[in-house]
């Protein structure tokens, strides 16, 4: 297996406040990797930096062997990194279809876009049934499906999902996690940020614990699940 994404001693700051101090991790092709950690640990900042919304202060980010640390967001996306942001952030005043088309904004193959759109509708039938409705009218879980579907539309090699289960009912959460697994089986590499550490680690090939802006622990998902420190800190056991 080859490393698709390598984050190397990353540090990011908002003005004087250092949100990420020293985060390092590797995502292998075809894996699901999750970052877990408390609120404010720097997970979201890490994802936003990878996708080019923020600029690192130090450290490097390599995708497929090439540094993307200094690229603007639209270039990073066209390299094959899609990011479904925290809080879903669907375009509320646009229809489902328009949201998905925006996900495919950088693609030129119209036929392929159609195919992929139908694939999203198959995966999430509720979206297919209401494709002309404004996204703002959908429930939280449905919006999450739309956000994931939208991120898939760019045909990414790496899909980054930030808190996909946030605010969702247990049933909906299960559905989302099933979908993530299915996406992996179809060949997409996934980087997941989750507060629901239990479910996330169970799903993941590899997990990293981020604490106060640093990666402190790492290991295969099941090992971390069994780790005493992780259980104490994040699983409430």
């Amino acid at each position: 297996m080859t490393a698709l994404l390598e984050v190397d001693d990353l540090s990011v700051a908002y003005g004087a406040i250092e949100a990420v101090r020293s985060v390092s991790f590797v995502v292998e092709e075809g894996q699901i990797v999750c970052l877990i950690g408390a609120n404010g640990a720097g997970k979201t900042t890490t994802l936003r930096t990878i996708s080019g919304l923020l600029r690192p202060r130090a450290g490097d980010i390599r995708f497929d062997g090439k540094s993307i640390a200094k690229e603007p967001a639209h270039v990073i996306l066209s390299r094959g990194v899609a990011h479904s942001p925290e809080g879903r952030r669907v375009f509320a005043r646009m229809s489902v279809e328009e949201n998905l088309l925006l996900g495919a904004y950088t693609r030129k193959d119209e036929a392929g876009v159609r195919t992929d759109m139908n694939r999203v509708y198959e995966l999430f039938p509720v979206l297919g049934e209401r494709k002309q409705q404004k996204a703002g009218l959908f429930s939280g879980g449905e919006q999450q499906m739309l956000a994931i579907g939208r991120a898939m539309m760019s045909k990414p090699r790496l899909l980054m999902l930030d808190e996909p289960s946030m605010g969702l009912s247990p049933i909906m959460t299960q559905l989302i996690f099933d979908t993530i697994k299915e996406l992996q089986q179809q060949g997409t590499t996934i980087l997941l940020v989750e507060q629901n550490a239990l479910a996330a680690l169970a799903l993941s090939d590899r997990g990293y614990v981020v604490d106060l802006g640093q990666t402190t622990l790492e290991g295969p998902g099941h090992d971390l699940l069994a780790d005493e420190r992780v259980r104490a800190a994040y699983l409430g056991q």
């Binding site: 908002y14 600029r55 200094k70």
Partner: protein
């Protein structure tokens, strides 16, 4: 500046500085023009024909010599903040060189006039520009030093002794300010046909004054003085007023009728600018029709003071008329400000603009027979108090003071009073509420500030000050015409406030002075005045949004720095955008101060 940090290697700093200082010094002694200019020799004996002795220096050449010597000394002595000093001296030298060089070249037949032609050579301006550039480059090697802090008492005194020591410093400092003000006012003399060199001499003097102040700021002196004066505010105000009262006396050189005229007009605009600064600088509400309030004050005062052309037929004493003018302007201010209850800043800007236009249109059409329309209201009588009309000459302490001096005195008092009001307001409950609204209106409301009331009050106070200034203005001028209160006057006032520094008193006064003195000095550029004001707004916002005198009590809201306690979303947003911007700047330097 940080973008240029590291432009030159550290090892070159000292050679650059030394050479820069030396070049300034040499420039002072070189001839500056190969030709005799059409309007007679360029002053300060810099034209070749009049260049008899290299050491007989006056005017800008004397200034350059001082800069050069100071730069040389500063280069080789250890001094905290020296890179700022050298940078300021460099800018000063650069400005002097550019201004004089450009003027000579423009008037004396092109580039040859400032280099070599017809067997004569005159490289003065070129050398000065080079020297200035070297000094500026030298300051770019590394980030600038911190401005050093000075102890309150230099001799470690306490109690009464320290107080007296501070008083002594303040007197010296304000005497220095008085000297600089008179020099600035009179530099180049009266512009226009009378003296064609007024413009370049004045601009070159500004280069000197700016370099001097910048250097003093660099070693921490200005900050220290302002700290002292804040600590002893009452004493400072007294000394400042005393200095202002000394200005018209003959020994200052500014005591002529003409300069009193100019100083009085500047005073009126300074008062108005302070009022505008309450609205824009403190409360963060952009008012684009501000001059209309001044106009309302002017027309009210004109109608109440027995102007011949007035249809009202009242003849009230000046203080009463001025008070009524201020109150009526204030009422209009509150009315215009009232939409702020519902809408935010940038919409409000349009409402105020609309109001200003309505006012101009109404005044132009002689609304209610109150404004005289296109023929204005002429014959507004002079202010008379204690049997003396304010445009008469007076004798004070054995010195004969020029006519118009009483208006000047009155305006000094009014500006002083307005300054006091502003300073108190700024530190009051209401002042803090305004600043909170400016920073974040939602947060201010969430903290229980009644934002609507505060905003309307800002408008009311600002409009009252403008109304009062208008009342003085119209008496001084003797005529009330709608022409004096048009949109572009509002723009000029706004430019003054922004140039000076939003939210600061010295800033508003300095800005108003510069923007209203410059046209006096640069008559030949009068046609370009507004064009340059427009460009100035753009450039100030881009490169120095905090203005010449930044408000250090708060983060300069326009400088985009981060304040403590701001919600993280905002900062995040900032960082994001910063990145976006840097994305285009190519390879990114590590993040550091962007100010």
């Amino acid at each position: 500046m940080s973008r240029f940090t590291g432009l030159i290697p550290l090892a070159l700093v000292r050679p650059f500085n030394a050479l820069g200082g030396l070049l300034l010094l040499v420039a002072a002694m070189l001839p500056w023009a190969t030709f005799l200019l059409n309007d007679g020799p360029f002053p300060e004996k810099s034209t070749l024909q009049y260049f008899d002795a290299p050491f007989e220096l006056t005017g800008f050449r004397w200034h350059l010599l001082v800069f050069g010597v100071v730069a040389l000394v500063t280069t080789f002595v250890p001094l905290r903040g020296k890179d700022r000093v050298l940078r300021a001296l460099g800018w000063g030298g650069l400005v002097i060189g550019l201004v004089c060089g450009y003027f000579i070249a423009e008037n004396g037949g092109g580039f040859g006039a400032i280099t070599a032609a017809d067997g004569a050579s005159a490289f003065g301006s070129v050398v000065a520009v080079l020297g200035g550039l070297l000094l500026i480059l030298g300051s770019m090697a590394k980030p600038l030093d911190e401005i050093p802090e000075w102890p309150t008492s230099l001799f470690g005194l306490t109690g009464m002794a320290a107080r007296l020591e501070a008083y002594a410093y303040l007197i010296v400092a304000f005497a220095g300010v008085l000297w600089l003000v008179t020099q600035t006012l009179t530099a180049g003399g009266i512009g226009g046909a009378a003296f064609p060199y007024a413009g370049p001499i004045f601009l070159a003097f500004l280069g000197f004054a700016g370099g001097l102040l910048g250097a003093l700021h660099g070693i921490g002196l200005t900050r220290w003085v302002s700290h002292l004066s804040e600590k002893h505010r009452a004493f400072s105000i007294i000394v400042l007023l005393a200095c202002a009262f000394l200005l018209p006396f003959p020994f200052t050189g500014a005591g002529s009728q003409y300069w009193m005229q100019v100083a009085a007009v500047i005073g009126v605009y300074a008062a108005t600018a302070i009022g505008l600064n309450i609205v824009v600088g403190l409360a963060g509400l952009l008012d684009l029709g501000y001059v209309a309030f001044m106009g309302i004050g002017a027309f009210v005062a004109a109608n109440l003071s027995g102007a011949v052309a007035s249809q009202v037929g009242l003849d009230l004493p000046f203080p009463v008329a001025a008070l009524i003018a201020a109150v009526i302007a204030g009422i209009f201010g509150a009315i215009v400000g009232s939409p702020t209850l519902r809408v935010r800043g940038d919409y409000l800007a349009i409402v105020t603009l609309a109001f200003g236009e309505i006012f101009t249109r109404a005044a132009q059409n002689n609304i209610g027979e109150l404004t005289g329309g296109a023929s204005a209201i002429p014959g507004v009588p002079q202010v008379t108090m204690f049997g003396t009309a304010f445009n008469e000459k007076i004798t004070l302490f054995g010195a004969e003071l020029p006519s118009g001096v009483l208006y000047y005195f009155m305006i000094v008092l009014v500006v002083g009073a307005i300054m006091a009001v502003f300073a108190n307001l700024k530190n009051s409950r209401m002042g803090r509420a305004w600043i909170a609204i400016r920073e974040d209106e939602d947060a201010a409301r969430a903290m229980g500030i009644r934002t609507g009331k505060a905003k309307i009050l800002a408008f009311l106070v600002g409009a009252m000050l403008a109304g009062l200034a208008g009342a003085i203005f119209v008496h001084k001028l003797g005529t009330a015409s709608y022409d004096s209160f048009k949109f572009l006057e509002s723009v000029t006032l706004l430019a003054a406030v922004i140039l000076g520094g939003m939210g600061t008193i010295p800033g508003a006064v300095l800005g108003a002075s510069l923007l209203f003195v410059l046209p006096e000095k640069l008559r030949e550029f009068d046609d370009f005045r507004l064009f340059f004001f427009g460009l100035a707004l753009v450039f100030i916002m881009r490169f120095r949004p905090q203005g010449l005198v930044p408000d250090r009590h708060r983060r300069a809201e326009l400088a985009g720095e981060t304040a403590e306690g701001k919600p993280i979303e905002t900062e995040e947003e900032q960082a994001v955008l910063e990145h976006e911007e840097r994305g285009h700047a190519g390879p990114s330097a590590p993040k550091e101060d962007r100010a």
